[in-house]
Amino acid sequence: MREYLSKLLVFAIVLYIVLFLVDYAYSAMIRTSNWRPVEAWEDVVNGNIHADVVALGSSRGWVQIDPHIIDSVLCVNSYNLGIDGSEINRQVQKYEIFRKRNPKPRLIIQNIDVWSLGYTIGYEKEQFFPFFWDRDIRKTFYRTEPFTWGEKYIPFFRYHGMNPMLFFHRSPRTLYKGYQGQVGVWNGEAFEQQETIIFHVNDTTLRMFDSFLDQAEEDSVKVVFVYAPLFSGATEKISNRDLMYETYRKLADKHSIPVLDYTDMWICRDTAYFYNAMHLNKTGAEIYTDSLANDLKRLDVF
């Protein structure tokens, strides 16, 4: 029995060491792939972003604010830090890591929506897998996201079920300065399943957002709140829109933040500029960003 248990123990130790090394090598390889969420994090953690303007938001920031246009209209260097499927809690966490590793921007374009004050965890948590060895990401997301015990403590286990060919995905890059325009046509999705929609404010997210705005003030980084275009059919279904707007208005007043609202922009009534009710396609994004950039210019935020 002692011999068997010794063999098991030795094997377990060897296995753990090998898994540890494989995990490290595999993570490093995946970080060199063009897998979209990894690309979005790579520039942030490597400190490659030297931007005057950064855009924060969910997919409505990521696919709708085009840095090409911001750069050309404002004559600045901009970067889109949008994070798909996120609410403000995750966006703020991403900005915190950005702030530690990259030079401060001069302006933050904060995309806000009536649902942004919820609390997102779990969505596409795989994007954090290759960054397990990054201290800041581990400290930030491996505490808040729903990782299982095995994913946290058994090396390599967190990659189970993922496409093992992922690291063969190479150039071309899928993102331009964090942005990815979507060449899609309207798919008819406009909250058809729901009669009315009510959104709620999560206290933790609200506190995080308030602290983030305090920090920006302290860092002398200007912030602009932006309501991006939303397809008109969808806007009508949101029943507590005014209440959510009021929450943002109080925050804007407290921190002296200008608010730009594009939810009633002319493109909101034309499906030609959307691929679904919540997202502009590439054409719509370019029109919207151009309008946004010119409004920022007029606001003279620099």
Binding site: Y4, F11, L15, V22, F157, H160
Partner: protein, 482 residues
Amino acid sequence: MVFNSIEYAIFLPLVFALYWFVFNKSVKVQNLFIVIVSYIFYGWWDWRFLFLIAFTSFCSWMSGLLIQKYSQQGKKAKAVSTANIVLNLAILGVFKYYDFFATSFAHVFLGGKTEGLLLNIVLPVGISFYTFQALSYSIDVYKGKIEPTKDIVEFFAYVSFFPQLVAGPIERATNLLPQFQRPRIFNVDMAVDGSRQILWGLFKKMAVADKCAVFVNEIFSTYQSQPGSNLLLGAIMFAFQIYGDFSGYSDIAIGTSKLFGIKLMRNFNVPYFSRDIAEFWRRWHISLTTWFRDYIYIPLGGSRCSKAKIVRNTFIIFLVSGLWHGANWTFIAWGAYHAVLFLPLILLGKNRKYKEVVASDKLFPSVGEVFRILMTFLIVVIGWVIFRAESIGQAWEYLCGMWQWDTLRAGYQLFIQRNLISRTGVVLMMVLFEWLNRKNEHGLDLQAVKSPLVRYGIYIFVILALMISVENSPSQFIYFQF
């Protein structure tokens, strides 16, 4: 509790430690402990069915004692044995087949009206397995092959031994019961090999079967809109799914038993390397096939009788085998399909042509052997479509659609899109390991590899492949439903 669960990962080491370190004072104590943990293991699904397994075990145990008591009075002993068989089959019939036959009866005679006719009882997990195991005991006692045991705990341990309780191998009292009667001494080599076999079983279940299942389920649920090449690919994937699932379970069961000093019979012996259908049936679900052979086929006269009786016996054994798998006409059709394939071989006396494993004295098979293996595999795959389908009509439509080759390109695209490269990768890995170990008991039998470094390398490679392949939502073992 299933083998590929966190609960089992805690349960097994705990039971192992208690078995060898705490309850190792006597065989009786160890047997009692096995019964208790086996009942916990089984009760994890539904504790109410514990009464059923206890009742089945008790009746079979009592019948053994009564058969011995009336051994001088042939008629009484036969009556007891028959009563026990009828009782066990009645329980199985009520729980597993009643609703099926009632529905079929209603369709034929009552215009499909089943109101008040169906029992709608939940099928107890593994009922077919433990019922057959209990039956084999009383039949063997009646035939004088084994002495009945007076120790009820020992018998309950034999019927409920947790590694093989819910999906076999269906053990014989002649093999398993004596192992519960003698003291067990921990054997390092046996335990190490058991651990390897558990790892191999987990790989087959979690990396191969579960990975194939995702694709197979999609193809079978949308078969009407799938091109022929996808249907063929879906059928082939199902062949590997069911093999990985069931033989994986058997490997885990046999491997686990080895940790407890108990040797179970082999249940699969590289069936997909068979050169004809008769060889396939000697290598697939061996414990069930030999059960039917010993308790139905041979008593009916086997193949040592007239040609007409051989045909009858062959059909009976395959139809019963089909019905054993489930209460659906598809299983009966699957049995009939195999009977038709098997019959020419047995009538021509060629059913025992291939006794040794293919290419037993060389590394690679000949071209002719490869051809025979592929042809056998193909006809087995066709059978699996009938087995997997929800109705005879669906099986027919699927099989007809499978041969439309004009859409090969669509299949290729699906192959690329659906990450089939990694799915086929694990299947090929399983086939390679099993080929290299085809003369050994399981695919990870590395006793011949002397270098510990190489052995460790192979284990770690398998674990890595398992970790990366395992699906986020593991599925239930297919054979639990039988």
